[in-house]
Each structure stands twice: as C-alpha cells, then as structure tokens.
Symmetry: D2
Subunit: 422 residues, 4 copies
C-alpha cells in the first residue's frame, strides 16, 4: 500500500498540473481498495459520509467547478449527480440531505468509478488544450480541487474508522500495528518572548482563503510543549477522576460528558483493567508513548486545566511550528495511526492539535467569489481551530498556516493537543 500512498510533493500539488491531479485522484481510489462495496455505501453517523459519496463528491467538485464552466457545451455525466453529490454549496443549487448520504445504494460503486474515469478524461483533455486566457483560472481551480480531494482522503479514513468501530466485530482496514509499552520522552518547553508577530499566509503558493491575509498579532511571552500529550499522561488524568470532576471542565463540556457518558477518548475500551483502542488495524492495547487521539476540545481543555497549563492559541502554535521542519507521520507513511512521540520537537503529523482559538476570520479576510466562497467562510462560528495535520493527512496538504476546524464536541477525526503556558 505504501507506494500508492506516496504523496505528490507540495509544490506539485499546487501546480495544478495534470500529473499532480492524476496522482491525487489515483490515491483516492487506492485508499478505497481495502474496502468492499458494502463498506463504501454505509453512513455510520450524521457527520460522517460513505466512502462512495466521497469518491463521487470529489469528482462532482471538478465537474461543477472546472468542466462545467470551462468546457464548451459540457454535458453532465448524470443529470441528478449534481443534486446527489453537492455537499453544501447553497448557491449551486439544492442538494441531498447530509444525513441521508448512506441511503444511496444506487448509483453503484462501479458507476461511481466510471464517473471518476469520465471526469478525469475530460479534465485531461481540458488541461491539454485550455486556451491561454483561462488556463491560469483553470489551473487555480484544479489546484483547489486537488487540495479539496486531499481533505476528503482524510475523511475517507476517519469515516471508515468510525464505521468499522461501530461494528461489534471491530474489523480492520489494514494489517496490525504493534503497540509499544515504553513511555514517551519528557516534554521540552519551548519559550517565546512577547512581541508583535506576523501570522497567516502570504505569497503565491497555494493556501485556503481562511489562512489570509497575513497580519500582525501581539503575543505575550509564552512557552509551548515540544510534543503533544501522550497516552500515559492522559491515563493519569483518567485515573485521577478527571471525567468525574466538574471543576475541570467548561460548562458545555461537562454537560456533554454527562449526557454522552464519556469516560475516555473515543474508541477506547476497558478490557480486564487495561485500556484498549480501536485503530484502523483493529483493536489493540493503548500505547503509552503515542499521542492521545480522538479527544474533543472539551477533553483537551479539561486535561490542560488539570495539568495546570492551557492550550496554545493558534497564533502561538503557528509561531512555534514555523521554526521546525514539516516532518512527521502523515498519510503517506501508511501507518494511519499516531506514532510514539520522539525526543525531537515535532509539530506536524500524528494528530490534529486543538488550540484555544475559535475559528473566525482574520482581519481583512475576503472569501473567494461565487460558490467557492462557501468553502470556508460560512463555517466561521462555533468551531475551534486545529493545527498541524494528522496521520491521515497527506503530507503535501498541510502548512504551518493551515487552519482546520471542528466543533468542540467532535472526536472522530485524529485529534490530540499539546500544552502551553506563560
């Protein structure tokens, strides 16, 4: 599996070239190869989507935003696919309700594969022959489509993990991953002085609209941990009664803990006094040195309070992370699970890291024009920013300025956190 998952380099991913496009499109299909048609059709929660739907939606994205506007008299592959596979673009037209995506046993997986090939072929034709006056716009949209598809590659993995974990048989997507028994190295605290810092994206390289504009932030002096909180540390929080002590929790978090009866991260189970967890390789014991994963913002925040620390802001995180290489355990490694923490400071891969920053617009933010303006801007309320990418993120997809965002109660992505203080 490793070869096919090897990522296109970031520069290529942003080139809008046919080569980059083809590599990414093929990888999406490769990710579904361990799955049966049955696995690809079922939706296990309202917030997840079937793999088949991801395969179709990413194709619709190119059809709707590239082929339809730039190929003269383009005819849709199927007249109702626009309705079925539009995710949430209200300005494009009405769409199938999100919670009902799992009802679509037709079109079949085979038909969706044919749909992909059809659209890929038309894209190849278009890119080979696009007139000069639109080729830059086409290239930009293809680049956006590539990054969009990379996001759905991660979702295919997190959604299929949710589905397999919902099955009492706890089936595996990939071969076993051994769980170590060692502790993680101690956290090193990285210090930064107060001052005006620049954050956000600038320049010609690809970034989503929500990363811009680059702008100044005044930060107080802060310290940030060299690595995320690991499982052994989190187990200490559990053992200390963390899930039963309201003084540690935000009010909304405490309501959630009680109403959902949370006692541990998502996918953890107690077996004979030991914690086990569901992974894409099936059930196995929790590895003490791996970053804790599948926690909500509420749990991250409660742990930090218990530890006498806090979560970093997204700006602190970005300032610190910018000093380090973007190395780490990404989708490309094929592990598809966080790896044990090492000695060297690391900010990328393994787990998306909750920050204490609500997801809002940067000063001067302007959403893209037209329907693509719905891509990021309309979600700027009620969600929190996560940074750094995970073991399910393509390496070429992330950047130090990259802003991911989820509701504070969401847990099904590969989410962890690191600590900060002043």
């Amino acid at each position: 599996m490793h070869n096919i998952l090897a990522s296109v380099p970031a520069a290529d991913a942003a080139s809008g070239s046919y080569e980059a496009l083809r590599t990414v499109r093929e990888r999406t299909v490769a990710l579904c190869r361990p799955l049966s048609a049955e696995d690809c059709v079922v939706q296990s929660a309202p917030e997840t989507s079937p793999a088949k739907w991801h395969l179709a939606h990413t194709t619709w994205f190119f059809e709707n935003f590239v082929l339809a506007p730039f190929v003269g008299d383009y005819r849709s592959f199927h007249p109702q696919f626009g309705y079925l596979f539009n995710s949430y673009y209200e300005t494009v037209g009405s769409f199938h309700p999100r919670r009902d995506r799992g009802l679509l046993t037709r079109p079949s997986l085979e038909e969706i594969r044919a749909y992909r090939i059809h659209v890929d072929d038309r894209l190849a034709d278009l890119l080979a022959a696009a007139p000069a006056e639109v080729s830059r716009e086409i290239s930009q949209r293809v680049t956006l489509g590539i990054h969009h598809e990379q996001q759905h590659q991660e979702l295919i993995l997190t959604d299929i993990k949710h589905l397999l974990a919902s099955n009492p048989l706890r089936p595996a997507y990939r071969s076993a991953i051994e769980a170590g028994r060692d502790k993680a190295p101690a956290i090193v605290w990285l210090s930064f002085p107060s001052g005006l810092y620049e954050v956000g994206h600038a320049g010609e390289s690809f970034a989503f609209d929500n990363e811009a504009p680059r702008h100044r932030r005044y930060l107080e002096n802060f310290r940030i941990a060299s690595r995320p909180v690991c499982n052994a540390e989190y187990v200490a929080f559990i053992d200390d009664g963390g899930y039963g002590n309201p003084a540690l929790w935000l009010s909304d978090g405490w309501q959630t803990v009680k109403s959902q009866a949370w006692q541990a991260p998502l996918y953890w189970e107690r077996r004979d006094g030991e914690w086990w967890q569901m992974t894409l390789a099936g059930m196995r014991p929790v590895d003490p040195a791996e970053p804790v994963c599948h926690v909500s913002y509420y749990e991250a925040d409660a742990y930090a309070r218990w530890a006498g620390k806090r979560l970093p802001s997204e700006f602190e995180w970005e300032v610190a992370a910018s000093l380090y290489e973007q190395d780490g355990n990404f989708l490309d490694s094929g592990r598809l699970h966080p790896a044990p923490c090492g000695v060297e400071p690391r900010f990328f891969g393994d787990v998306w890291e909750w920050t204490q920053s609500p997801y809002v617009a940067y000063p001067g933010y302007r959403p893209s024009a037209g329907a693509l303006g719905e891509y990021n801007g309309k979600f700027m309320v009620n969600q929190m920013v996560l940074r750094g990418g995970s073991c399910a993120t393509p390496k070429s997809h992330v950047r130090p300025t990259y802003r991911n965002f989820f509701y504070p109660h969401d847990r099904w992505q590969f989410k962890g956190f690191r600590l900060a203080d002043n």
Copy 2:
C-alpha cells in the same frame, strides 16, 4: 423470476420436510438476486432491516432453535453471530440494537451466503438422521422456521421497497408493471346475521400460537365489502379534503397527519396534477382499480368515517373470508404489487387489510414455552390486526385465521383495507 418464486404448497410448508425447507430457503436467496451487495446492507429506517440481515437472521433462527439443541456438540458457525442476528429474543441473550442493523458491512454478503449453506447442510444431515424420539419436535421447529422465513421474505420486499423509494433516483427492483386506467367494479355487500360464531385456529395443521385457541364470539349482524377500497375511491377522499379535516380522524391520527405532514398514502407523489406512486417496478401513475396500498390504520379509519362506514373487526373478516377460496395475488405471482380489483369477492392477497381489532390474546391463549414464547405474545399491545396477506406474502403462508399486526401509524408494508357496516 416466476419459477423460483412458485410457492411450496401449504401442506408441504407445514410438513417440516427437508424438501419444503429447501424450497423456502432457496426462494429467500432468489428474492435477493436482483439486489447488489450495496442494496443488501443499508437500513433505511429504524423499523426496516437490511436484506443481508434477513438472510442471516432466518439462518440464525434454524441454528439457534434447531441445530443447537438437537445436534450433539454443535459449534456455532461464528461465535458472534448469535449476538448480531438475534432479533429480539431476550431470553436467548443480548443482541445488537435494531436501529444499528445497517452498520454491519461485515460479515459480507458472501460470508452470509456461506453461513446459509453451512446451516442448510447441517439441517439436511439432522433431518436425515434424527432419532425417532425427537423427530417430531424437530419437525415442528423446522415448520415454524419455514413460516418464520416466509415472513422475512415479505419483509425483504417491503424493506427494499422502502430503501429504493428513499433514493432520489427511485430505482426499480423488477421490470415495469403497467398501470391501467379503468375503474374497479362496484363493491358488493356481503351480509351476515348476528349469532355465536367460532373463530381461531384448531386442529393439527400449522398455525402460530396467537391464532389459538379456537373460541366463540358473539357478532351482531354485519355487512362486509366484497373487495378492498381502491385507489379511485381513495383519491376522492383526498380530493374532498380528507387530510385536512380533523373531524374525520382519531385524535392520535390527526396528530400524526400534522406532525408528519401526510397528504396521501406512503410512496405517492403529485406530478403535474396526477398521482404517481413508487412501486417495486419504479415510479408509475396510480392505477384507479388497484386497492389503495401503504396506508396507516389512521388513514383507513378516517376514510371509513368519511364514507359513512367502518372497518370490520378481525372476527367479522374471518367469518366472511372463511367462505371464499384462498386465491389471490401473492408473492408467488411475481407481480409484487396489488392487482386491479375484479368482480368476484376476494379476501386474500394484494394488500393486508387493517381491521378495527387491537391485537390482543384470545381467551385461553398460551404462548409457546421458552424463547419461542416471545415470538408473538409479547407484542400484544398498541398494535392492530391485519388480515388476508399481500402481494408480497407467500401463498402457502396465510390462512383465514392468520393474524398479522402493526402499529397504527405503520405504512411501509403492503397495507390496505375494506369497509363494513351493520
């Protein structure tokens, strides 16, 4: 398709013979042949089940109630199938929640087919060699299993219809069925004098425990219609504002009409001023002469009030139906849709008929011993009795004394009704 759906004769169905068993088991598989693995795994509502689950559950029924008790050191095909495919037998053990049956992408459809073959083979061995002292008990349980499986054959069809109707593409299970344009012949009113009647099942032939004991009922004189209410008649009720007039409805029915925004039977859609309906052959216009189908008890009752009539009691229905041949449009015909009403009185097939009788125990009712006692008895509250069988019922499955039962708001079975008065 017709040949494989040809029914085993009722006498054979109740023989507990291997021949009868094999015929029924093969038909279940045949019913799923037009379906893809994707079609077989999805659950479109909490009250429906995936076809794959039906295939597995009917197999578990034989494994649990025949093989396990009667085959020395029988080893389950899979240690967790008892948990996954037990429907509701609390005394057998805990079971997978009903609403989550659609999450089981594993075991695959192929594995379930292997499970069926495995159990069928063991059953063949057992039936060929059962010691005399248990063969009668085995034969009775096999007979029960056959009738149980016939019930699930109907559910496979009604559940798949619900799934396909939930798909905006409205795909078809079978080839097209033409819709006629003619009216149904007028209703003939069949009269019965008041008196003591005997109803219920007696004798050695197979019946469910809820049909017994045979007992006396005093009935006032009554008249009962020779055929169910047909679509043209029901459209007149709609056109007269039936769905907007609370005076016609039971209070609970009116709450349901308002909260569910019902305007017509399930699966009906208005297109350019004409009523269309989803069938197992896809969308087509409503045929005026066919019995109205997919209505709730509330709708049947409201129509009857509008028409100045009432629904028959289950005893009136049984007394009348016993005088007629058990002919009609059953699963065996392969039509899988109600057929236009004819001139001759007919009580069987086409649509299950709502009666005004709540589903309760007959005087002296005794549920079967052990877990099989949960088969019928524990549902004797909140449901209404339906009689006669439908176009999705195997012909050999029904009898004049047969009592089907559903909640008054349920509509996804093939349900209609006929009128009565005094």
Copy 3:
C-alpha cells in the same frame, strides 16, 4: 374539608338541575382552596394541566355548549377565552397548545373565579327560564357538563399531586394520612361460568356515549379477584427482580422500563431500605395493605404474568362488579388516597383498575352529534380501558359500565389492577 366534598347523589348528578349543577361547581372551587395562586398556574408535564386551567375549561364547556347556543345574543365573557380554554374540540375552532397551558399567568386566578361566577349566574338564569321546547336538550347538556366537571375534579387532584411530587420539598395538599403496617386479607376468587352476557349501558339514566349500546358478549368461564393487588404483593414482585426480567414484560413495556429507568411505581422512593411514596398528604411509608397505585398497564400486565394470572377483560370486570354495591373510598371521603383492602369483595373506589381490554367502540356505537361527538370517540385507539373509579373520583360519577381510558404507559392517575384467570 369533608363536608364540601360530600357528593351530589348520582340521580341528582344526572338531573341537570340547577341544584346539582351548583353543588358540583362549588366543589370544584373547594378542591382548589388548599392551593395558592402559584400552585394553580404551573403545568408539571405535557399531559397534566394547571388547576386554573381546569377551573376555566370546565366553565368554558358550559359557556360554549350551553350558554352560546341557548342564550339569545350571548356575548362571551372574554373574546379569547374560547381559544385559551377549549381543550381539544377541533370542530369548535383552533385552541391553545396543550403543552403550553402552564404559560398562562394571565388571566389571573381571580379573573377565572369571576369568569366562573359570571357563567354560573347566566346558567342559573337560563335554567330558571328555559323555554319548554329546549329545556330537555339544555338539561341533557348541563348533565353532561356536570359529569365533565367531575372528571376534571379528579384531574385537578392527580395533576396537583404530580406537581407537588415534582417539587424537591414534597409539599402536602392535605393533612397527614397514617400508614398502617398490617397485611391485606387474602384474595377470594369469584367464579363465573361461560355464557352470553350483556354488557354496556342502556336506559334513560346518564352515561357517556362510549358505554353504549348495551350488547352481548360471549365469555369463557373465568375467576376474578375480590380485591386489587396490594402493596405487599407488589413489593414481592419488585424484590423478585420483576423490573429486571424481560421475560415478564410486553415488548413495548420493556422498552419503557429501560428508557425510563423504572424500578417501582410512580412516586415511590427507596429510603434506607424501605419504600416510601408521595401522597397528597406528603411523603410517608408504603402501607402494605393498600392497593398498589400509580402503575402503568405494562407494570400491571408484568405483575400478572409473574403471578401466573392475567388481567380481567373489561367485560369480565363489569359482569362481576355489577353484583356488588358501588361502595368504596371515593373523592367524597376526603382521604384522597387508597385505603387498606378489607375482607369484603369490592370493585369501586380506591384505584382505577387496568383491564386487558383496548379502548374501542362497542358494536353499533354512535358518537354524539356535532362537537360533543369528539368527547370520547376520537380517542378509541392506543389506549386501554380502566374500570371502577378511584379515591379521587366523585362517587356519583361512576357506574359499573363506566369506561375510563389511558395510554398503557400513563401512571399519574390513581391506577391499580386486580387479577383474573380461567
């Protein structure tokens, strides 16, 4: 309190006389005397109503069904009271949603008292001077209004009990009632042979439309208990794990037990290993000899199965009860709580008794004409019949043929049950 609660005799209650009317109207006011205005305005559950609402609704009933049609150019006391205090008569017009009855802090309790006096005065005028040609119709409607108001007298008590029990202070409506420690006398089994029996109401005396017509029922021979199941017996069921054994329960009942976490009758609490219960006199220990009270149909049915018996049908109950005096512990005694069972067979008072009979129409049932036809008929689905009246029922209100009805999960009325078998 006793004097004012002394009932009008049944014959008078049905006389439609001004004397009878005045007695009943005054008693309703008297029942609210121990309550503050605050107590009278709050609604503690969607199925209960504030006492003030009962005071107003019973008045509206007379205004709408007697004054409006029979007093020339009658002008409503308040133009919006028809909207506010119509309970559910769809054919009269739209009405305030049931769940919002507790939002009506205005009109004040004082205004409602003035409304009552206004309507009572107009009724006195009307009854004194009604022309002969309508006096019979008026008298019938006044009689209906009297019985309607008696029903609401019971509801005032059960609804206020629910409210006071919802208060952590567990305040009392009346002075303390001692709890005895003795057992109840043993049950005597009363036997009846099989045969055709007549049941239902006939004749000129007052009855609700749902008690008619009198008709024949064929009953198998049966035995029925001389008294309801008492607390000591019910505690044995609890102690034997009755609430944890699914084999004893109807399927819908078992779902309810689990989802509502029922462990005992409503209003029971475990304190230091002993069962206490909320009464209209506040909290006190459970008296072993009193009939068990505030149980659902599901609990009654489960107990009966545990005891190897069954519940009687409403017809068996009526046949047996007709042989006994209508004596018992009614509202009129002022105890407002079931009294310990005695030696003599008794069928009336203390607790309404669940029967195994769903609430449906008798053969030939005709609802009253017009809006009053909504009084009983539209509730004939999903509910079960209870018989006999309770400690909160006016004695003159019940009859052997009287049919009360509630949903099988309802518990807030004074409901118990007795056993039967064959």
Copy 4:
C-alpha cells in the same frame, strides 16, 4: 416607578457598603412589584427563570458566599434552599435542574420575601460588625453580590418579557410606550488607525475577572458606526429577502433560520402588512428609529454581510466606546425598551451589541479561587461577546470593558448590533 429604579452610582455600587447593598436589594423587589405571584413562578423556556427564582437565587448568593463563611455558626434559612437556588456552582454541591425551576410553586413568593429580609438583616449585622481582618474580603464579596444581583435584575425583565410574550393575550408589564414614525439620523463612521491598543480592565475599581488582565492588542485600522442598526434599516434587509437567501448566512445560522422558521426578530409579528413587536408595554408597531432588538448573532452577521460591512471585534468596540460618555437609555430610565437613535454617537444602553468576538479568556486570565471561579470562566466556549449594556441594564453595572456573552442563537435578551469596516 422611576424613583425606585434610580440607580446607585457606580462608585457606590462597588463600595460594598450597606447603603449600596440595600439600594440594589430594594430595587430587585421593586422590579417584581408589577407582577403577580402567578407571573413570578412560571418558567417559559429552559433558558429563562421565574422571577421568584431570581429573587431567591440572588439571596442565596449572599447567604452562601458571605453569611455562611463569615458569620460564626450561621444556620441556613432553610436546609434545602441551597439545593433549590444554587444556579450552577458545581463545587458548592448538587443543584435543582435548570429546566425545572418553574416547578417550584413552593416555597411561595411570600416565603422568598421573608428569606430576602432574613438574609438582608443578617448582612446588615455582619457589615456593621465585621472584624477588620475580614472586612475587606467581605466588602469585595458584597460588591460582587451587588453586581451579580444587577445582572439578575436584567434577567428578571428579559425573562418576564419572554413569559408575557408567550401568552396569547400579550399582557403588559408597564404602561404604554408610544412608537414614533420618524427615521433615525444617518450613521456617522468613526475612524481609528492601526496600532497597538490596550484593552481590558486594570486598577482597583470593580470588574469581573473576565475583563482582566488589561493587555495589548494590535488592531488594523477600522471604522465603526456611531449608532446601532435601526429598525428601518433592518426592515429593508427583511424586504430584500434576507431571511431567504442562504448566501448571506453562516452555515449554522442558516440551519437555525430554517429549523426555527425565523422570518424577523424575536417578538415581531406581521399585522395587516405592518410589523408589530411585543414590548414590556405590550404590542405596538415597530418604531423605525429605534435600534433593532432581539436578534441573534446569526441575524446580526447576516445583516452585516448584506450591508457589505461586518460586525466590530470586541476590542474595536472597546477602543471606540472608551472615548464616549457612558450615557444612554438604561434600566434606570424606566422605559425598558430601546429609545430612538439620536444624532450623537452613543455606545451604551438601549441594546447589548453583538461583536464578532467569541468569548474566550484574555492572555493571562486567572479565574477567581474557589466556587466563585465558576462565575465566568467555565462559559468560555461557544458563546459570543456583547458590549455596552441595554435598556434593562442598571447604569452603574456596565463599563467600557464589560463583557457580556450569549450563544449565537440566543435572542431573548435586548440584543442589537452596530456595523464596522476597514
């Protein structure tokens, strides 16, 4: 009414003196004077509380946080009031569920008044005789209690408005307020250059912990409106189809608009083509010159997008507001409704103003120690900051640094907004 509502000066409010305390405590009682006991007991929504509960809870606050710790062997007024009237202090002990506050018909309003007098008397004793070593701590807690009670004065008004608006009679709390017909003066745009600004509270004067510490923010240059958006402007948004155009809304906002069927601000009704609104003085036409009121964050944000502007951040708001007098239409005026906008820039009173800032901790924020640390800190997620105070806020209660916070969908407070841009 005006005299009694005249506010204690801000300096006094923060003095912790008995005079200040008494003034505030008396005003709370005065606010309830137009209400009946019935009005004071009912809870019209899970997020509102009965006036009686506010009267009791503010008293419990002093009893629990001042009397209990500082009066030797203090005995609670009632052993269960701690349970009943603790709002949400988990570290103090368990408490009555918020949604059930309206069930407490007992203790009566009279008893709560006695409770207030009892606690006030003990406070007077304590303040007169507190030993020097604790008098500062006592004084600080009394000051906090005063500000806490001022918050509940506002809630009494907003909650009673919600209750009266839920009543089809639309009763009034105070005498009529005329609605003008004139337009508001044009908005003036106030400009500020980019730079490092200081925001937040510092110094000895009273402020809540969430206003501190004072710290630096780098702001881009911005413009801010001299007044809130007024009704005439908002009606133009409605008339332009604002509530039907998803492109204007945040995604969560659009879901809310659809699921709640919002078409206008809370309390607005269309009558004969004109907009009317519920006020504390009853129903009256919408005044074009008044600030729009009772809108959610979603509506404020959608309006701003429609107008081509944005909402200010809480820091922009504070920087601008600090330049102006804290004059305006507060609770003290007795109008209890926003007043028409004038020509002069004004930042205080009339309506709380939504900002685009999520409610989070300032850098270096430290919650107070002990249970009082739950006052503000545990709500720092999912809510948005509002600034400036409203027509229901005591004048001495607010400051330029004051941060109010509510969920983005909340509308029942007096909430409006002003625009900003760059």
